[in-house]
Symmetry: C2
Subunit: 472 residues, 2 copies
C-alpha cells in the first residue's frame, strides 16, 4: 500500500446511503444472492488458501521490486498459481518502469557524540558522493517548522524532520504525514539544504527504517534523501536539544538505469451470462526491496486469489466476469496508469473494482460507490458480510486502491473493503514486512468478506455508476 | 545483562525465610530504619534523576563495548557524574579485556530462493573468508536435535538451530536457551559443520538480530557463528520445510587485536560509623556495540547512581559505606573476576552486594541472602518496599548479578532485586536496545526499591553471612 490517502483524497459528496434497520423478510429481493454469499463467507471462515499463498510468495520469491528479476519470478509464480487454481484465463500485461537500485546506506553522528544511525534511502533518491556527505544538521520537530524557513536558511546543512505520524486504525496518520516523505527533500533543497532525512513514516519503535517513494521538484536541486529509524530520530532530537552543533555523515549510493519491464498478471473467471461485464478485484505483486512483502502486498494478492478460488469452487460461474488483477508496479505508481491504458476501450464494461492493499488484518468496513442507488442490494450485501464482522460504511467509497485510481477517474466505480490497520505502519515499507505479521485466521476473515462482496456484485445485474441525468 | 541464569545456576538450599503475616507493631525493632527507607522510597516515586542519567549516557556516549574509546568516554562520563552528584570518593579500577571488533556481516540464501538474511556475528566469533562461506544448510528446530547427530554428519554444512526461547517475566527463557548461543558453534563444529547460525535469543519478531558471547572448544575447530533475526529464522524454516536443498552464503569479518584496557568506576558514600563495612550496588557501564545500551545496562547504571544520590541527599551518611560500582566489562564476563581480585583483601568487609542488570522495568521482588537470620529485619524491609509494589521473595537469592559472581563465591552475600523482564528479551543485545524502551516512572519505582533496600542494609548492623557453626 502506498499513497492512497493522498492521491485519492478528493472528498466525495456523501450520497447518504444510510442503511435502514428493517428486519430481513422472506421477500427480500436479493435473498438468494445473500444466501449464496453467506455460504462462501462461512466456508472461508472455516479456512481458505490465502495463508498458504502468501507463505509461498514470501518464501519462494520474497522481495520483488517492480521490474526486477525477483518481480519476474513473482509473475511466473502468479501465472502458475492462477492456472493451478483453475482460473479460466491468465494473461500478463507488460509496461516499462523506472530502474532505481538501492546501494550502500549508512549514517553516523560524527560530532559531538559519535554514534551510528540506521537509515534507508527513499525510493528515487539521488546518491551522496561515494565517500559520503558530512554536514551540520538542522532538526525540525514539525514539518511545518521547516516550511516556515526562508530560502537560503538551510544552506550547506542536512535538514532533518522528526515529526511522528499518528497511529490510527484506518491508516489516516500515514496520509496526513505523507508529504514529509514525498515532498521533504524538494522543500529542504529549496531552502539550500544539501541532504534530507525524515523520521520514518512508521508507528513502531524499532531500528528498522521505512523506505517509500519521494519526488523532486523538476526545476529544483536534487539532494539525497533517507529515512531514519524511529529510535534514531529520537536520538537526534536528544542531541540537538542540547543546543550544540551536531554533524552527521550520510552515505547513500543508489543508481539509476534503463527502464525495466514490469508485469501485471490477470486471472479471469469468465462470467456465465454477461462475460463482457467485468468485476475487478486484486492486489499488487511488486513490493519494496527491504523485506519479503508479506503485508504489502502479499496479503492482498493472497486474499483476492483465494477469493477467486472460492468462486471457482462453486457449481457455476457468476453471471459477470471476475478478474483478479495482480498489479506489477504499485510502489512506484506506475501500474494503475498502465492498467487504465490497457483497458481504456472497455472501461464502460468495468462494473466495479476494488484493490486489497492494506495488509493482512480483518476487514472491518465495506464502502460502496456513490452511484449505487439499489438500496435493497446494499442492505442484502450488508447482511451477507456483517456475520463476518464487517459493517457497512455510511459514506461512499473515496477510492478503490492505488492501482485503480486512473481507471476510476475514467469512470469505473470503486468499492473499499477497509481493514484493521492499527499495526500496519509498524511494518510497512520496512525490513519488518514479513510473514510473521500475518494471522491465517485474519486472512480467512478477509477472504470471507471479499468473497461475499465479489460474488454478490458479480452474480447480479446491479449497476454502480450514477444514473445519467439530462443536462440542464 | 548477560549470563546470570547459567553461570549462577548453583541451586542454593532454601533457608525457609518465610515471612510471617504478623501485623506491624509499634515495638518493631527496625521501625526507625523502615520509616527512613519509606521516606526515600516515596521521594523516588515522586521522581528521581535516573531517567536523566540514562538519557545522558545513551545520547552522549551510546554504544560502549568494553575497552573501546567509547567505553573510555563512558568511564569519563561516570567519574564526572559521580563527582557532580557529591559522592565522597570516586575511583577507577582498570583491567585488560580481549579485543574483538565486529566487521561486515551479511548473509543470503542463494539456492533455491535467493533472499537476503539479517544476521549479526556472535561476540568472539572467528571470521568467514572475506568473500564469504557458501554451504548447504542443515536446519534443526530444536538444539537437542543437533546434539543427537553423530560426528561427521554435518561435514561441510552450515548448521542452523531455530529453537525459540520462552517469554517469561523473570527471563528464565534466556537461561534455558543460553547454551544454543554459547555452545552451539562448538557442538556444530564437532559434527563437521563449517558455519553455525542460531535464531536470536530474542522474544521479538523484528529484523534485528541479537548478538552475545559464545565460546569455542579450545581443542576443537573454530567456525564462524552468527545470530539470525527471528523473521529470518522463520524464513529458513519455511524454505527447509520444502525438503529441497538450501544454500546460504554468509560473510562475517570480525577481527581480534591486542588486549584493551577496561575501566570499572566506583562512587563511594563513606559510612559515618563503620566506614570499613561495605555495601555494594551497581550496574555495568559497558554495552554491546549494536545499540546505545539503554536497557543493558544504562538502566542499571542510572538506577544505582540515582539510589546513591538519594542517600547522599539525606542529612547524614548511613552507618556503613555504600559503593556504587559501574563495572567495565560485563558482556564479556571479565569485570567480576577483576573486581573480586581488586577487593580480595576486603571481602570479609563486604557486607552484601547486588547488581541491577535486567533493564528498566519495575522491581517486582526482593530476594535476600540465605545467611540472613534476623527475621525482624527482613520483615521491616519487606514493609518498606511493598508500598512501591515490591514483594519479598520466599526463597533466598541465588545470585546477585554477573559482576558479583566471583566475589560472591569468595564469601560476599548477595541480594537480588528482580525486575519485570517480560519485554526485556525483545530488545536485549540487539540494535533495538535504545532509550525509547524505558519509562521514567518505572525507573523511579526501581530507584524507590533500591533506595529502601540500600539504606536499610547500610544504616544497620545486620549481618547477612550465615553464622559459623562448629565442625562436627
Amino acid at each position: 500500500m502506498s499513497l492512497t490517502f493522498t492521491r485519492g483524497s478528493v472528498i466525495a459528496v456523501a450520497m447518504g446511503l444510510a442503511l435502514s434497520g428493517t428486519a430481513q423478510s422472506q421477500t427480500a429481493p436479493y435473498a438468494a444472492q445473500q444466501a449464496a454469499a453467506g455460504q462462501l463467507r462461512d466456508k472461508a471462515l472455516k479456512g481458505s488458501i490465502a495463508f498458504e499463498l502468501v507463505e509461498s510468495l514470501t518464501t519462494e520469491v520474497g522481495a520483488r521490486p517492480a521490474g526486477s528479476a525477483a518481480a519476474h519470478r513473482a509473475s511466473d509464480w502468479a501465472v502458475a498459481r492462477f492456472k493451478a487454481l483453475g482460473y479460466d484465463k491468465v494473461t500478463v500485461e507488460t509496461f516499462p518502469v523506472p530502474n532505481w537500485q538501492r546501494g550502500i546506506e549508512t549514517a553516523e553522528v560524527t560530532v559531538p557524540y559519535p554514534q551510528k544511525l540506521f537509515i534507508t534511502a527513499l525510493g528515487g533518491s539521488v546518491a551522496t558522493p561515494p565517500l559520503g556527505l558530512s554536514a551540520q544538521v538542522v532538526l525540525f520537530k514539525r514539518f511545518d517548522d521547516m516550511l516556515a524557513q526562508p530560502e537560503g536558511s538551510l544552506n550547506g546543512k542536512i535538514a532533518i524532520v522528526t515529526e511522528r505520524i499518528v497511529r490510527a486504525q484506518d491508516g489516516g496518520g500515514y496520509g496526513a504525514g505523507y508529504r514529509i516523505r514525498g515532498l521533504g527533500a524538494a522543500e529542504a533543497a529549496k531552502r539550500g539544504a544539501v541532504g534530507y532525512m525524515l523520521r520514518s513514516l512508521g508507528t513502531d519503535s524499532h531500528r528498522v527504517p521505512h523506505t517509500g517513494s519521494m519526488t523532486y521538484d523538476p526545476a529544483g536541486t536534487k539532494i539525497p534523501a533517507a529515512a531514519l529509524s524511529n529510535p534514531d530520530a529520537d536520538l537526534l532530537e536528544h542531541m540537538t536539544d542540547r543546543a550544540v552543533p551536531v554533524t552527521v555523515k550520510m552515505i547513500v549510493t543508489p543508481t539509476f538505469g534503463p527502464d525495466l519491464e514490469a508485469r501485471t498478471v490477470v486471472g479471469e473467471i469468465t462470467g456465465r451470462e454477461k462475460p463482457e461485464e467485468i468485476v475487478v478485484i486484486g492486489g499488487h505483486l511488486d513490493s519494496w526491496d527491504l523485506a519479503t512483502g508479506a503485508i504489502d502486498d502479499g496479503a492482498g494478492v493472497a486474499i483476492t486469489m483465494a477469493t477467486g478460488k472460492q468462486i471457482l469452487d462453486r457449481a457455476e460461474r457468476p453471471r459477470r466476469t471476475v478478474r483478479v488483477v495482480l498489479w506489477g508496479a504499485e510502489e512506484i505508481f506506475k501500474a494503475g496508469a498502465a492498467f487504465a491504458k490497457a483497458h481504456a476501450s472497455e472501461v464502460d464494461r468495468h462494473i466495479i473494482g476494488s484493490e486489497s492493499d492494506f495488509g493482512g488484518g480483518k476487514v472491518l468496513k465495506l464502502a460502496l460507490p456513490a452511484g449505487l442507488t439499489d438500496r435493497a442490494f446494499a442492505e442484502a450485501l450488508g447482511r451477507a458480510v456483517t456475520p463476518a464482522g464487517v459493517l457497512m460504511e455510511r459514506t461512499p467509497a473515496l477510492g478503490g486502491g492505488e492501482d485503480l485510481m486512473e481507471i476510476n477517474a475514467m469512470g469505473m466505480p470503486v468499492a473499499s473493503l477497509r481493514q484493521d490497520g492499527m499495526d500496519y505502519f509498524d511494518w510497512h515499507h520496512s525490513p519488518d514486512d514479513t510473514l510473521d505479521k500475518i494471522k491465517a485466521t485474519d486472512l480467512d476473515q478477509a477472504v470471507a468478506a471479499w468473497s461475499a462482496f465479489t460474488l454478490m456484485v458479480a452474480d447480479s445485474a446491479v449497476e454502480f455508476r450514477a444514473p445519467k441525468t439530462a443536462a440542464k
